[in-house]
């Protein structure tokens, strides 16, 4: 073993920790660290739950609005077609009657 190796061994030799070192470390750092993580996780979970709920409500509202619009639109369309059909029937009856009168006039 040369001089260099002996110096290296002295520098890296195992040394026992002072009495109560581990307990002091845990007492000082452990509880604070653990509590902070729980708080953060709890808040993140609450926010994501609220965001999810809001998104679901918004999506549900939009779907319902679109469904109502569709129903109202279909009803308006049906009413429009009914109005045009009634108008058409009356106009057609007039045309038919005029054509009939025209034919009768032509015979005389």
């Amino acid at each position: 073993m040369d001089e260099f190796e002996r110096a290296l061994m002295e520098a890296l030799h195992r040394e026992a920790a002072p009495e109560g070192f581990a307990e002091r470390v845990v007492a000082r750092a452990g509880p604070v660290k653990a509590g902070g993580r729980i708080w953060w996780k709890k808040r993140a979970f609450q926010w994501s739950l609220a965001a999810g709920l809001a998104a679901t409500l918004l999506a549900g509202g939009l779907i319902e609005h679109r469904r109502e619009q569709q129903i109202r639109g279909e009803r308006a369309r049906e009413e429009l077609m009914l109005a045009l059909r009634i108008t058409g029937v009356k106009l057609h009856a007039v045309q038919e009657r005029l054509a009939e009168m025209d034919r009768e006039g032509g015979k005389q």
């Binding site: 639109g73 369309r77 009413e79 429009l80 045009l84 108008t87 029937v89 106009l91």
Partner: protein, 182 residues
């Protein structure tokens, strides 16, 4: 004297404007009580626009779209009675009378035989243009009022009578619309 004349002319103009905007002839509500069934369709400009968004690409829907494009409203009221005699000829004459004033032209008057009924078509004219059309169809067991507001074109009428499930008939050669009655 001038003031009285001016007030009279103004009241005439206001009455005319009110008549033009009215959806149905005054006093038709009384028929509702006698009717077994009432059909009431009221579509103003915004509802017509809304309804047009839900029309399909089918030919009939496209025709409806073309017809309503420039219209301001379509109003239909139809009363069905369970037996004839639910209204008198005088009541209908009073309704027709409401559209004899300036701005209205009585273009067709068809008096039917038996169950045919009578039909009158009035055009609302202004500034040299058609501004609307009113139909009064009085059949023994049915009374129908149709009011179309807006510039309806003659070709629209042709489409109306020839489509919507109704077979088209050829136009009469010597039709004399006004006052043609039997």
């Amino acid at each position: 004297m001038k003031r009285i004349l001016g007030a009279f002319l103004l009241s005439l103009l206001l009455a005319e404007a009110a008549m033009a905007q009215r959806k149905f002839p005054a006093g038709i509500e009384k028929f509702a009580a006698r009717a077994e069934e009432t059909t009431d369709v009221s579509l103003d400009k915004s509802m017509l626009n809304f309804a047009s968004k839900f029309l399909s690409s089918r030919e009939q829907d496209q025709q409806a779209r073309r017809i309503i494009a420039s219209l301001e409203g379509i109003y239909v009221r139809s009363y069905e009675f369970n037996k004839p005699g639910a209204y008198t000829a005088a009541e209908i004459a009073a309704l027709r009378q409401q559209f004899q004033g300036p701005g209205w032209s009585h273009i067709v008057s068809v008096r039917g035989k038996g169950s045919d009924g009578d039909t009158d078509i009035f055009m609302h004219l202004g500034d040299g243009q058609i501004k609307g059309m009113l139909i009064i169809a009085a059949e023994p067991q049915e009374l129908t009022f149709v009011n179309i507001l807006g510039p309806i074109k003659p070709e629209d009428l042709k489409e109306l009578s020839g489509q919507f499930g109704i077979p088209q008939i050829r136009s009469p050669k010597n039709a004399q619309p006004e006052g043609k009655s039997k």
